[in-house]
Amino acid sequence: MTAALAIDRLEVVFDRFRALKGVSLEVQPGESFGLVGESGSGKSTLLRAIAGLAPVTSGGIAVDGRTLGRGRDKAFYRQVQMVFQDPYGSLHPRQTVDRLLQEPLAIHGVADGERRIQRALDEVGLGNGFRFRYAHQLSGGQRQRVAIARALILEPSILLLDEPTSALDASVQAEVLNLLEEVRRRRKLTFLMVSHDLAVITHMCERLMVMQNGEAVENLAASDLVERKVTKDYTRNLLKASEGFVRA
């Protein structure tokens, strides 16, 4: 089977700083794959490199068996979409939801825009009442729903999700996670998802990679994490820390 996403010994360098040091990874079609690890370890950089937004110095990225060059063409963005870490910064506050959703449709010259906007808003649970609201008038959870709707509107097959719920409260997080599972099932999507919350990753993903300092520490099945079958100390520390604060 051809992997939906294959990353081969990827290197990203900012000035002289190596943010990714030869990271490899394969995600199968329809799979949900998680990335966890240290803050600053390169998780966002990995997603951004796939989206063509980080300075790749060597290594390869292939989508459905097609190796990507430097630039990303329109066809790429119809196939791969990204939801960013920060729901406050990723949507222009002075644009209406309608404008935000129209924009990718216009860029890609999509004909049945009206149907797609209706469908996307429906899917993320925002009724038509929200369509002409400005982004700054929405709560964090509502904004993240708009960001997901915007990512879905070109009907991609792969979603890159960077901490899609870390800025949301527990109740809204549950709603957004349920929503993501639902659209993945319905649209048969492939997910590559970053979260620092191990419980979110085991809930959403089948397999995961643990990262530290620009490198992969280990690859695991989510069930390994649940059963504490891990081999590296760093992963063990993450599991321990997930249990909460312990006063010395």
């Binding site: 409260d169 997080q173 996670l177 809930h203 649940v226 599991l239 909460g244």
Partner: protein, 277 residues
Amino acid sequence: MSTLLDVEDLRVTYPTRTGVIEAVRGVSFQLGRERLGIVGESGSGKSQTGRAIMGLTPPQAQVSAKKLAFDGIDLMAASPRERRALRGNRIAMILQDPKYSLDPVMSIGRQIVETLRAHERVSKAEARERALAMLEAVQIRDPARVFDLHPHEVSGGMGQRAMIAMMLIAGPELMIADEPTSALDVTVQLDVLKILDKLVAERGMGLIFISHDLRLVSSFCDRVIVMYAGKVVEQIKASELRNAQHPYTLGLLDCMPRIDADRHPLPVLDRKPEWAA
């Protein structure tokens, strides 16, 4: 327990064209030299409560309180100048959105240095040393590199820690930390909490810890206030959170995914109108 902060019937309202928005509707609590958690869903008034205590409510809003006192100082009667002086020195707030709170055109290091030099007379060289030490304390790898980076060049969690370093370097007596660790991986999160914990235990700082992570709050704080629709619906010992009475608190606890429980879909809150009454 000596009282550091006394809040009684705090209200924050925003007049708008379509009516008033009551962001905070009569919140009361006292804070000693302890860790007080504030939890509650998005929009429940947590940040607005913190900002009102800081004196950072925007001018179009109205703040009222029967009592709002910090270390015996009546904050409602204090002049804007007195409040600014308190903010620079004795009271600090880690704002929820680090990317917006940091100055985008100034390097991380310079922002910390300027904060330090704004309230302590130290040489440039010493300020730099202390800023680097503070970045190291919040577990930034390679502080010397990060010192020179601008906010858009650091990861989400690094920006958040830069903000924390900036607030800690002033050595406040009251710290309001608004979702200070939401972008951090769990091990760094605990390191940051250890620093805050030490300041409470050793220096007697009072800490208000605003968070949506109920698990973290229950293990870290002494007491917890649960807010809903601008009001406090429950106050409880943090260690007793599991035995909370209010269905809203129980609902919030229940909707979090757990590593060892397979629940698809996750339960969601079924909000009742009477909770807001």
